[in-house]
């Protein structure tokens, strides 16, 4: 179920095309997930992993995102050392965490900290879907709650980029409670007059979409991002009907009144800095 969120959304059952058979040298070239065109990896990175041909927004790592938004050298990371334990003693969980830590060079699926965007100081959290599918367990909940508390202390806006398959199954109900913990933190921040901006990137589902991701003062998304609570397959099984292709996309959510705006990645920094500037005030 969860895994489906991360595979390409297929419109048709397709046979491998001639194009996809082309041997792509690892590391040098990158194939667009949207249109299958092949680009130099460098070229794709320069365009912030947005396909120059079809505009498909590929996932960014947490640090690529930070580099794309923050004034150079301004970002200071918070709570880098917080990582997942194994509170339920779940078999094989520690190994999975260790593997992803090695793979991503992160200690957890979210990076938090502060920096300046066009000279405006902001507190920031960015999730990385390559770490346990960006799923939220205790460590992630703690980091996000602390970042929000820090934003409150320092009277600066809080911006979060979400990318998550939902709750971290291996931490059971403790993961569920992180939804409450982060949402309460946001309430406190909001009551103090803090500005919170949520930007949902592909995918933002389950417990993350049903907590902090959806309760920003502004809720944005990147084009084509999958956003929703329940998984497509389980809904199809429940209602016994085929869902439209655009179901739970950013555009679908915009149409249904759940988003303020869908923002192209190339316009992101400018819009965020404008928005932060328009809310400049001393927090109560």
């Amino acid at each position: 179920m969860l895994k489906d969120l991360f595979s390409k959304r297929r419109k048709y059952a397709s046979l491998p095309s001639e194009q996809s058979k082309i041997d792509v040298p690892e590391g040098l070239m990158q194939k667009c997930r949207g249109c299958n065109k092949i680009y130099y990896r460098k070229e794709m990175k320069k365009s912030l992993s947005v396909c120059p041909n079809c505009g498909y927004h590929h996932p960014m790592t947490a640090w690529e995102r930070i580099d794309s938004l923050f004034d150079e050298g301004s970002f200071q990371e918070w709570d880098k050392g917080i990582t997942s334990g194994n509170p339920l003693g779940f078999p094989g969980y520690e190994e999975k965490i260790a593997k992803d830590r090695e793979k991503t060079a992160l200690n957890e699926g979210v990076v938090t900290g502060k920096g300046t965007i066009a000279d405006h100081p902001v507190a920031f959290a960015v999730m990385d879907s390559s770490f346990r599918m960006g799923s939220m367990g205790s460590a992630m909940g703690e980091k996000i709650a602390r970042a929000i508390e820090n934003a409150k202390e320092e009277s600066i806006p809080f911006i979060i980029f979400t990318a998550s398959g939902g709750a971290r199954m291996q931490e059971g109900v403790l993961s569920l409670m992180q939804m409450a913990k982060t949402s309460i933190a946001i309430k406190r921040f909001s009551d103090a007059g803090g500005l919170m901006i949520s930007v949902m990137t592909h995918p933002t589902t389950g417990g993350v979409s049903a907590s902090f991701a959806s309760i920003g003062d502004y809720n944005f998304a990147e084009p084509g991002a999958l956003i929703g609570f329940a998984g497509r397959r389980i809904i199809e099984q429940t209602i016994r009907e085929k869902l439209p292709d655009d179901f739970q996309t950013a555009e679908f959510q915009l149409k249904h009144g759940q988003l303020d705006k869908v923002i192209h990645r190339h316009d992101m920094k400018e819009l965020l800095s404008k928005l932060v500037a328009m809310h400049r005030r001393e927090v109560k």
Partner: protein, 318 residues
């Protein structure tokens, strides 16, 4: 329609045998009183043995028992003059959640709870207790009203989870759940949440941010159903029994994890065996919880609520 659960079968079989012998004794010359007594002693031991050592999966079965008392059963037993109110004022009325006001020991309170049906027809009307966004929004509307009129809030949690349907997504169930979590954090009146059956995922949590979290002994509270967890983690829904153990979803597990404040004991064999007794057990804990909370100021309530949730979770620092 007193449905027998798998693990209860040895008890039921033995009881049947005892009844047979009793009938036989009554209708014949042969006196089996001594044998019956021996068997009844054995039955008592067997009952203690089985009900005293319930496995997580047994408790899952208990929590899902079709005869298990629902929110409305407890409302009838614990409160007086309950008046139900409907609608979220945006879209409709979700009968998977009931909400209203009542007296609890002469004090007006707001009562909100997931509501399963007692039969198929009612279950269809109530969508098996699985809310749509309008359910959460109705709940929040009543919570805000409780705050305005300074009434404590009592939430009964009893749902498999949020309804995984198209309409629920279109009407923003993520936002509806998230909004409740956020707003419940700031309510200036005491909130007591009681898990009475299944506490399933976000649909349960949307009524579950409170000052006291109570749980019936044989209820469960989890991020996903055991079947869902098994399918997701091991690609085999048949491993649900194992998942029920690994995922730590019983009241005892949650107490240990620091999520639940009190476990409310159940009568032997489960809440459905004796609603009267169950309600009395619940009454005792609820009364105490509310009494403890009533002495707090509004600011204290909110601050302590944050402290409570802030400490939830276990992580490491390297």
């Amino acid at each position: 329609m007193n449905q027998i659960l798998e693990f209860e079968k040895p008890i039921v079989n033995l009881r049947e045998k005892i009844n047979e012998l009793k009938n036989f004794t009554e209708n014949s010359e042969i006196d089996l009183t001594a044998e019956i007594e021996t068997l009844e002693k054995r039955l008592a031991i067997l009952e203690n043995d089985i009900y005293g050592n319930l496995k997580p999966w047994d408790r899952v079965q208990m929590a899902r028992h079709p005869m298990r008392p629902t929110t409305k059963d407890y409302i009838d037993k614990l409160f007086t003059d309950f008046i139900e109110f409907h609608g979220d004022r945006f879209f409709g009325d979700d009968e998977a959640i009931v909400a209203g006001i009542a007296y609890y020991n002469e004090m007006p309170v707001t009562v909100i709870g997931h509501q399963r049906g007692k039969d198929t027809k009612e279950n269809i009307r109530r969508n098996f207790g699985m809310p749509h966004p309008e359910g959460y929004r109705k709940a929040l509307r009543h919570m805000k009203q409780a705050e305005k009129f300074n009434r404590p809030i009592i939430c009964f949690i009893d749902t498999k989870g949020a309804y995984p349907g198209r309409a629920a997504e279109e009407r923003g169930q993520s936002e509806a759940i998230a909004k409740n979590l956020m707003e419940m954090a700031g309510l200036t009146v005491p909130i007591v949440c009681i898990v009475i059956g299944e506490g399933g995922s976000g649909g349960a949590l949307a009524l579950g941010v409170g000052d006291r979290i109570l749980m019936l002994e044989n209820s469960t509270y989890s991020v996903i159903s055991p079947e869902g967890a098994a399918a997701l983690l091991w690609k085999d829904a048949g491993l649900a029994q194992r998942a029920a153990e690994t995922m730590k979803i019983t009241s005892y597990d949650l107490k240990k994890l620091g999520i639940v404040d009190h476990i409310i004991p159940e009568p032997k064999g489960g809440a459905h065996r004796n609603l009267e007794q169950q309600a009395a057990y619940m009454d005792e804990v609820l009364k105490q919880s509310l009494a403890n909370l009533q002495s707090s100021t509004e600011d204290e309530l909110i601050e302590k609520r944050w402290e409570k949730y802030k400490q939830m979770g276990e992580f490491e620092i390297i």
